[in-house]
Amino acid sequence: MWHGWTGNVLRVDLSKPQITIEELDRSSAENYIGGRGLGIKYLYDEMNPSIDALSPANKLIFATGPLTGTGAPAASRYMVMCKGPLTEAIAESSAGGAFATAMKYAGYDMIILEGKASTPVYLWINNDQIELRDASHLSGKSSIETEKAVIAETDPNAKVSCIGPAGENLVLFACVMNDMGRAAGRSGVGAVMGSKNLKAIAVHGTGGLKVADGVAFRKAIYEAYKTIDTEDTEHFHQLGTPAVLALVKEFGALPTRNFQTGVNPHWEKLSGETLATTIATRHNMGLACPACPVGCGRVTKVTNPEFPGEGVGPEYETIGLFGSSCETNDLEVVSKAGFICNEMGMDTISAGAAIACAMELYEKGYLTEKDVGMPLNFGNSEAVIKLTEDMALRKGFGNVLAEGSYRLAKRYGHPEFFMGSKKLDFASYDPRGLQGMGLGYATNSRGACHIRGEVHDLTLYSVKHWKITKDHNVGPVDPLRWDDKPLLGADVQDWFCIIDSCGMCNFMFFLALDEDHARHLIESATGIDMGGYKGLMKTGERIFNLERLFNLKAGLTSKDDTLPKRMLEEPMPEGPAKGMVVHLGEMLPEYYKIRGWTADGVPTPEKLKELGLESV
């Protein structure tokens, strides 16, 4: 009997085409929970990681967690997993919105997409009635137009996940989009969907979700709900993720001019407080994903007659890259660039980073006006908007940018201007001011991800609620200290594997909740015993190690656990982190040791045995 989980996996072979429904593997569910865990388990078992990410051999998995669609706070997430074309490593992008809940109510924990359709199609899932439909009339349509068109053709209550033109054009950092502006953003999962000729998935679900122990689950909900009602939550409710900007600025870690410095004297023009009083359409509040007590989503309106617009966003990362790293210092420009990314279905971090990288190449003379077709100094707002559009459509110089900043910097002979790790661009935090972020960027499975080893939140938010490391008893976290980060970083990475697998949004956890809340919710929903705190963290470690094995098989080595020269050798020129470099050389060997990996970053046979991975 399945509780929390629906117990069904929908498998669609787009080549044949063939649609099958199979039972979820019980032991995988218990050992990997859902979402990111089940995604990597199925990918690792079924696919050779060395395949070309944009070939039909790549599999694209949409995976929910056992809590998705329940009343656990902010349990609305799904993960989109595959081999990422941008990174050539595991891709694991998460999105909120109402799509995942609809997937569960229709009766599916996961959708596995294989092969490649011969012509553009979309998948229409009306409970157990499933069909592939022609989508040739949707080609070239924006993600928002696509969503509306598919809803009009299927059911007014259908929820749609789709790609925009960027995904169709195989932009290497294209997203999968849903609910008018929610994105499974990073690593190019949208390009993989595009490579399969799959334009959209529409789901209408009318079934409900039952949990194993209703009384215990309701108690766990209210314990979590009460705990989340804090000042930090209210701050996020009022300002959304742009609230983070003022906090990051305190650490001198706000990327400016492609990470040349972490100090932007014009930061106030970009802050969450400024956004709330200028372009936000609702004062001090936004819109929420299902069951979320925060509601971080912003809706904004740009009135500049040169580039008017209205839509969802921007998030903090969008502001950091388009606003500070490209030095436009203008929220209207940021917001407009964000709208374009949403419509085109493109990761705002990698898009902003590609432009910032091109700007540095241009200012240093490695890229000319002839190459770009226009001047490209830092702060050129017009160019930012034009190039954002062009990269989605692969027009002119946009075609070069569409390959991402790693390939851009390499193409023009200066790979050192790529700011990221494993070919994935840094998010909006300069790791010289946040040492734990540096280690996370270098070691997270999908590359320079700011979420999966979120040690920085210990410093950004009050540490008092952080009990994850209770076994390790760390004191207050100093962002500039590096010797305590390997232990902390590994712990937080394992813990985020659990969060990304259960179906809840990680904001719940960095704002207030801890592993007991998660465990009580998962156990009462599914009826399984996680084996206490230790068992829960072991499950997280298992997921993380399996991702590592995937990456090793994909051809990555410990040489890829690195950071740009600028982070390792050029001291931060000014501000609170002045003089700092990332002490990765000190952290990495210690981190490998704590992980039970060899000096080359390979999990030892003993570690694999301990995690039940000896047979893989």
């Binding site: 009343g71 409900g208 936004g286 929420a288 994903c289 299902p290 979320c292 839509g311």
Partner: protein
């Protein structure tokens, strides 16, 4: 003074937590279709609107019910007034669903059902952190609304 659900659209984030918990306490499952409160989200208008039974003074559903299964219950102790469906009398004919102009009574699992105010402790209110659904004296809510309108007028008056 009667207490009731007071909706404040300006505070609703559209999270639908109210729907999830409503269906869970009344049907033992998370299923927004079985909820008695519904949040309609208008993303492009940056607005969300919860819709729920307002416990009419002269209920359309009550008048339409041929089985006499709907009545108005007053609890003198709590001061709560609720339009209630008596499940044992209901035949599931759906006349009430046709009569209600707001779509706030439905037939689900064979019986008519509508908001029962959870016996005075509405679950939807418990999970509305934004304060868009409150359980209070309805006159108090209206007075607050009038005051907020007055404040806005005051702002524009002073700006002018």
């Amino acid at each position: 003074m009667a207490k009731g659900l007071v909706i404040d659209i300006s505070r609703c984030t559209g999270c639908g937590y109210c729907e999830l918990m409503c269906s869970f306490v009344h049907h033992g499952e998370f299923n927004t279709l079985k909820s008695r409160i519904h949040t309609n989200v208008f993303i492009e208008k940056s607005t969300a609107v919860p819709v729920v039974c307002y416990q009419c003074e002269d209920p359309w559903c009550l008048k339409a019910c041929p089985a006499g299964a709907i009545s108005i219950e007053n609890d003198p102790k709590t001061g709560i007034r609720v339009v209630k469906v008596h499940k044992e009398k209901c035949v599931g004919c759906k006349m009430c669903t046709l009569a209600c102009p707001f779509g706030c009574i439905v037939v689900s699992d064979g019986y008519a059902e509508k908001c029962d105010l959870c016996g005075g402790y509405p679950e939807c209110v418990r999970v509305c952190r934004a304060g868009a659904i409150r359980f209070e004296e309805t006159e108090y809510g209206l007075a607050a609304k009038r005051k907020s309108v007055a404040e806005r007028l005051l702002d524009s008056y002073q700006e002018g």
